[in-house]
Amino acid sequence: MLEIKNLHAEVDGNKILRGIDLTVRPGEVHAIMGPNGSGKSTLSYVLAGKEDYEITEGSISYNGVDWSELGADERAAAGMFLAFQYPIEIPGVATMTFLKTALNAQRKARGEDEISTPDFMKLVREKSKELKVTPDMLKRPLNVGFSGGEKKRAEILQMSLLEPTLCVLDETDSGLDIDALRIVSEGVNQLRSPERSMIVITHYQRLLDHIVPDVVHVLSKGKIVKTGGKELALELEKNGYADYVDEEAA
């Protein structure tokens, strides 16, 4: 279970998160929506453990473990996965190599054996087929020259291989065409399970048609200003954020 309490965080001295409370239980999918610049990606970075994102107040714990002292790699080994809004290019490192290195790094950190090459190949082939990631893409350097949609599919491929228990998806739907949106959503839905928690950051209802959330939150100016059921997203789609953002300002 993820428990975020009164979380304040800043980057380079800029206060961005201003008191977030959020609890995500195993099996739940929470959607976070909110205007541009409200702090959604910042929250995802703080959760993943990016340096320079300083927690000034409050706490994050996962499965009862305080995360403030854990580095990004340790959180990953503990089950955290962030699908980046803007995936980073790693020149010269074949996607396949990256996947294997990441999987083995996590296994090592958990005291497990490395996966054998044949087992790994089998696993990758299976997962990439589901997500329509071509063998050619697996050979190319990670994210280098990938189209926007390809990058997002590669993120979800990583997620399905690494089998995290806490998934944060930051605007995974942006840049996806209609078919890709369906394929990726199916991939995500397959990972839904009673043990797994998910936070889905998005601007659009259409993703939530496919990945149906249990709870929807509205983030504005670094705070959660409204929480509701899946119908909240529909309402936002119709009326925009004005109601909630104004309420906050008033």
Binding site: E51, D73, F84, I90, G92, T97, A102, A105, A109
Partner: protein, 438 residues
């Protein structure tokens, strides 16, 4: 022949012509204090790995070198799948796979043996690429050279295996003065691998080898080096000085020479594997990875000298600097008056880890023929925080992340290495960057 070269060498030695164009600093070497030639105390070598320096074994282990191969490297077992002419502290103590090579007509032996057995070849080619008076260290080598490897591939023969020599500096205060001569006769092909590891030492050790390659018509020589000599302790004390002269001569038309090097060790490296593109349509290549960490100083690069018509050269240099090291690429590309349609492409990329190290790129371009086309591209970058975070968010720790990113950075060069070397080189890169972050 030996004697002729040696006497010429000694007289040229009197002008002290130390490395002046390179960006390296080092205390004046006391040549009286170095033993020019150190024969192993025990010519039979250790009887088992139990007798081998544990530090060396530790390095082998980190590199993932299999036991059987470790035995060969350390001079224990007499055979392996690659032909190893092990230069074990200056004197070649093991030569293997000779028979299979002999069947193909390939001569692969210590140079001292070649002088006895194949005097006509040695006479004709030794010193024909790197003359005695070439530079101070080449002269020193010519004066005192101890031993080295000799390769001759006869016309039309494709050498049936990768040839490999593992050098290891073993004696305290040993100056190494190997001399290697490789001749690929018309239409032949040979790939030669040179790899080095050395255990920890307290005093600086000098390595001033000379490597000469000669490629005749339609012949190709591929020379790969993985160099991992002791770089010195955390204060930069006690590492090896590597002042090597390597030069290839594409002597006849359509010949090709390519140098691939992975340089991770030594306190000071000063080397410029070069190609003289004499034959028409000949090609020279230089692929280099140079990693400096701690207090290391590397000044390396290449010279491509275009003499023949339609000659082409390609340079890919990847420099990685970490710690407080200095890493310089210094390259010269020149076209002679008669070298019409000479082509060169140079790509020079530097990667900085931390902010106390330096990367420098010094290209010299000289063209006396207006039809020459020389292209030069250079980049300098840092490993970005975003790349580090991305890798760490996927579970890689800091060192694993750096190693992965660096291995990606050098991929174009790694791909040029023979398989068995490529794997070893990648591990070596990770090891040599240990402690460079955090």
């Amino acid at each position: 022949m030996d004697a002729k070269l040696a006497s010429g060498g000694i007289s040229s030695l009197e002008n002290d012509g130390r490395a002046t164009w390179a960006r390296v600093e080092y205390p004046k070497i006391d040549f009286e204090d170095l033993h020019y030639y150190a024969a192993p105390k025990n010519t039979e070598g250790p009887k088992s790995l139990d007798e081998v320096d544990p530090e060396l074994l530790e390095t082998y282990k980190k590199l993932g070198i299999p036991l059987s191969e470790q035995e060969i490297l350390a001079g224990v077992a007499p055979e392996n799948r690659v032909a190893v002419d092990a230069v074990f502290d200056s004197v070649s103590v093991a030569t293997t796979f000779k028979e299979e090579l002999a069947k193909a007509g390939v001569i692969f032996c210590p140079i001292s043996e070649a002088v006895r057995e194949h005097p006509e070849l040695v006479q004709k080619y030794l010193g024909s690429v790197v003359p005695v008076s070439d530079n101070f260290y080449a002269t020193l080598n010519s004066a005192v050279f101890s031993d080295g490897s000799f390769v001759y591939v006869p016309p039309g023969v494709r050498c049936p295996m990768e040839l490999s020599t593992y050098f290891r500096i073993n004696e305290k205060n040993t100056g190494q003065f190997e001399r290697t001569l490789i001749i690929a006769d018309k239409g032949s092909y040979v790939s030669y691998l040179e790899g080095c590891t050395a255990p920890q030492r307290d005093e600086n050790q000098l390595h001033a080898a000379v490597v000469e390659l000669v490629a005749l018509e339609d012949a190709e020589i591929k020379y790969s080096t993985v160099q991992n000599w002791y770089p010195g302790d955390s204060e930069g004390k006690g590492g090896i000085y590597n002042f090597v002269t390597k030069r290839g001569d594409c002597r006849e038309k359509n010949s090709k020479i390519s140098w691939t090097q992975v340089e991770t060790g030594s306190a000071i490296t000063w080397k410029y594997p070069s190609c003289i593109l004499r034959g028409d349509n000949s090609q020279g290549e230089f692929y280099s990875i140079a990693i400096s960490n701690g207090h290391q100083q590397i000044d390396s690069g290449t010279k491509m000298i275009h003499l023949g018509k339609n000659t082409a050269s390609r340079i890919i240099s990847k420099g990685i600097s970490a710690g407080v090291s200095q890493n310089t690429y210094r390259g010269q590309v020149s076209a002679h008056r008669k070298a019409s349609n000479a082509r060169n492409f140079t790509q020079c990329d530097s990667l900085l880890i931390g902010d106390k190290c330096g990367a420098h790129t010094v290209p010299y371009i000289e063209s006396k023929n207006s039809s020459a086309v020389f292209e030069h591209e250079a980049t300098t970058s840092k490993i970005s925080d975003d790349q580090m975070f991305y890798c760490q968010a996927r579970g890689l720790d800091e060192e694993e992340a750096v190693a992965l990113i660096v291995n990606g950075f050098v991929r174009d060069v790694i791909q040029q290495l023979p398989m068995e070397f490529a794997v070893e080189a990648q591990k070596l890169i990770s090891i040599s960057l240990e402690g460079s972050v955090g």
